[in-house]
């Protein structure tokens, strides 16, 4: 038993490390690049302007799963004195839930840069009113990546894609719905294309009977799946593209550009946003209601959403579309860096075919319908 006591007290010692005056805990749901963004870029920048503050960046994992983890943590600490996190970076679906359950603090009125955001996503997250609680960190978009050497004219829409896959079995790959959001986005795009009224799914209101109309789309998707490769995760799709194992697959645009810049994708890879479109989403900065560092947290977010940081960090370094309105970046960014974002997918494409995800209840119905009727 003595060993146990010693062990416990030693463990307690390691847990406590009050070296810095203040610690700001930033939790990001998402791929590793988002954690690194805070750790290597934003954190040091904030520490420079706030001496004595230490920014700790942690990641809770890719996809909605990462956000769910943050949600569970905040939910479990509802009764506790202070939450583990001071700033959270979360997906849309979780943001709606967290606001509804009172886990987030209203902070945007304390942040000047909130005026630079006019997009709908800052107010509405998949049907939930989140205005005041969130600021978009960036916007990203899914699209079909393809190998231009193997495929001269990519499909313009989902019907052409279906035909192409029939003619070229096992050359298209996506990650189902369990391995990250690019596969989820593809499935949502499929339902938009073949399941009836995309506008209704995006704008609501929710009608539980709607899902019955997707049966045909799901049956077709099940057939379609026989000729595709199911990849392990968002990165798995990119990896298979890189290794020449598939010729086409849905990917996040930002990851695509980062991988290409890192030499992990052949230079001849291109993107195509097929009609009627695939979803994109923002990531949100939010402050937990129970954070002990509310003021510091909003200062951190103010820095993160300032035009200069959005230009240098979000657009130039990490290839995301800016979270604040694009016009605020004018003069902060050279034209080449800006144009790079729109090489394959033009602003016109985006305007026509970049869709949000469906509102949360439809979203859940699609995921469950997929598991029931396509995957099983």
């Amino acid at each position: 038993m003595r060993i146990l006591t010693i062990a416990c007290s030693l463990a307690a010692l390691t847990a406590a490390s009050p070296v810095y005056a203040q610690t700001l805990n930033v939790a990001s749901a998402g791929d590793q690049n988002m954690v690194d963004y805070v750790k290597d870029y934003l954190g040091p920048l904030f520490e420079k302007s706030h001496p004595g503050v230490k920014v700790v960046s942690v990641g809770t994992g890719p996809g909605d799963a990462g956000s769910q983890k943050i949600y569970e943590k905040l939910d479990a600490q509802k009764g506790a004195g202070a939450s583990d996190f001071d700033v959270v970076v979360i997906h849309q679906k979780a943001a709606g839930t967290m606001v509804k359950e009172g886990l987030l603090a209203k902070y945007t009125d304390k942040v000047d840069t909130a005026k630079l955001v006019s997009s709908e996503t800052a107010k509405n997250a998949l049907g939930s009113d989140v205005s005041g609680y969130v600021m978009p960190m960036f916007q990203s978009q899914t699209a079909l990546a393809y190998n231009a050497d193997m495929l001269k004219s990519p499909p313009n829409n989902f019907v052409e894609l279906k035909e192409w896959v029939n003619k070229n079995p096992k050359q298209f790959g996506y990650n189902g719905i369990k391995g990250g959001m690019s596969g989820v986005a593809f499935v949502a795009g499929w339902v938009y294309a073949f399941g009836g009224d995309a506008g209704k799914l995006i704008a609501g209101p929710y009608d539980a009977a709607e899902k019955a109309r997707w049966d045909k789309a799901f049956a077709e998707l099940k057939d379609f799946n026989k000729n595709v490769v199911i990849t392990p995760g968002n990165a798995g799709t990119l990896d298979m593209l890189n290794r020449g194992e598939i010729a086409m697959g849905p990917v996040w645009v930002d990851m695509f550009y980062s991988w290409q810049a890192d030499g992990k994708l052949p230079p001849n890879m291109k993107l195509k946003l097929a009609a009627p479109g695939m979803p994109g989403q923002p990531m949100y900065y939010a402050v937990p209601e129970k954070s002990a560092q509310q003021k510091l947290a909003s200062e951190f977010i103010a820095l993160a959403t300032s035009p200069q940081v959005q230009a240098d960090g979000i657009v130039k370094k990490f290839n995301w579309y800016p979270g604040i309105d694009a016009k605020n970046l004018e003069g902060k960014l050279d034209k080449a860096a800006w144009d790079k974002l729109f090489t394959d997918i033009t602003p016109t494409d985006l305007a026509a075919n970049a869709k949000p995800f469906p509102i949360a209840p439809y979203f859940n119905d699609i995921l469950e319908g997929y598991e029931k009727k396509v995957a099983n």
């Binding site: 060993i3 146990l4 030693l10 590793q32 994992g61 479990a76 990165a235 890189n242």
Partner: protein, 271 residues
């Protein structure tokens, strides 16, 4: 004739060995290759550009590979201490004493390994929140100890069972107390097995991913968690480097395990 046949057999066996070695080390060599691949895309069979850029990235000042390694090892050591403190008495009881429902108790220690840990750890995390030890080293250590207990208890039981009863009897006959006999005769004889069980627990703790994921995040980031994040984020270079770091203790212990685990102990494990 006979010589030719045996030569054929030997070369066939060697060929099998080569295939075996390839399947064994191929995946590991692959890891090393990825760790120095700066650019590698189809149709190239080998990396286009080699370099140590990603090694520098992992070991950069703000990087946390070394911190995670420290955390991992520290957690593993504490886990071993707790597991041994519990398993030495339990192993003695199971290996040496008459215990009612012995098979049932053996199974109870196996249970944490038998139930898919994912479902358990979520509920453990909820309980730990109430106790305020979620996200602490202590919480992770407790979870690892419960998980590794089956190895330490089963192996300790086998080690005690393998100790010659006559030696204990002899000690008792010349007047040693039961406790003295245990500490001067039984325990030293069983020590190699117990050390081996400690090694098993140590490596189980280093290996452990799911429990840490639910109970330790975000304050406690062990090396496997770092690896997972990098791998799922598609950064195979960082994942490979982290994996190589994790390999070092694993391979070291593998090389020395037979020093501690004698055949007669092995034969009794789980029986």
């Amino acid at each position: 004739m006979i010589r030719a046949a045996s030569l054929l057999r030997a070369s066939l066996a060697s060929a099998l060995l080569v295939v075996f070695a390839f399947l064994l080390f191929g995946p590991l060599a692959n890891l090393a290759l990825w760790s120095v691949a700066e650019r590698w895309y189809t149709p190239y069979k080998l990396p286009v550009v080699y370099g140590t850029r990603y090694w520098e990235q992992v070991f950069r000042p703000t990087g946390d590979a070394m911190a995670s390694l420290g955390t991992s090892i520290w957690i593993a050591i504490l886990t071993v201490l707790i597991a041994l403190a519990l398993s030495v008495p339990a192993g003695y009881a199971l290996g040496r004493l008459k215990l009612p429902m012995r098979a049932l108790f053996m199974i109870v220690f196996l249970l944490p390994q038998a139930f898919p840990s994912v479902a358990i750890y979520i509920n453990v995390a909820r309980i730990f929140y109430h106790l305020g030890i979620n996200g602490t080293v202590l919480g992770v250590v407790l979870v690892h100890a419960a998980h590794g207990l089956v190895y330490s208890v089963w192996i300790a039981a086998a080690a005690f069972a393998a100790v010659d009863k006559d030696l204990e009897l002899a000690a008792r006959n010349i007047g040693a107390s039961a406790l003295r006999t245990f500490f001067t005769v039984t325990l030293p004889l069983a020590a190699p097995g117990i050390i081996a069980s400690g090694i098993f627990v140590f490596l189980e703790s280093l290996d452990e991913f799911t429990g840490t994921f639910f109970v330790g995040v975000p304050q406690v980031i062990t090396l496997p968690l770092l690896l997972y994040n990098a791998a799922m984020g598609g950064n195979y270079q960082v994942a490979s480097i982290t994996a190589l770091i994790l390999l070092v203790p694993s391979v070291l212990f593998m090389l020395f395990i037979e020093r501690f685990l004698r055949a007669d102990v092995l034969a009794k494990v789980g029986s």
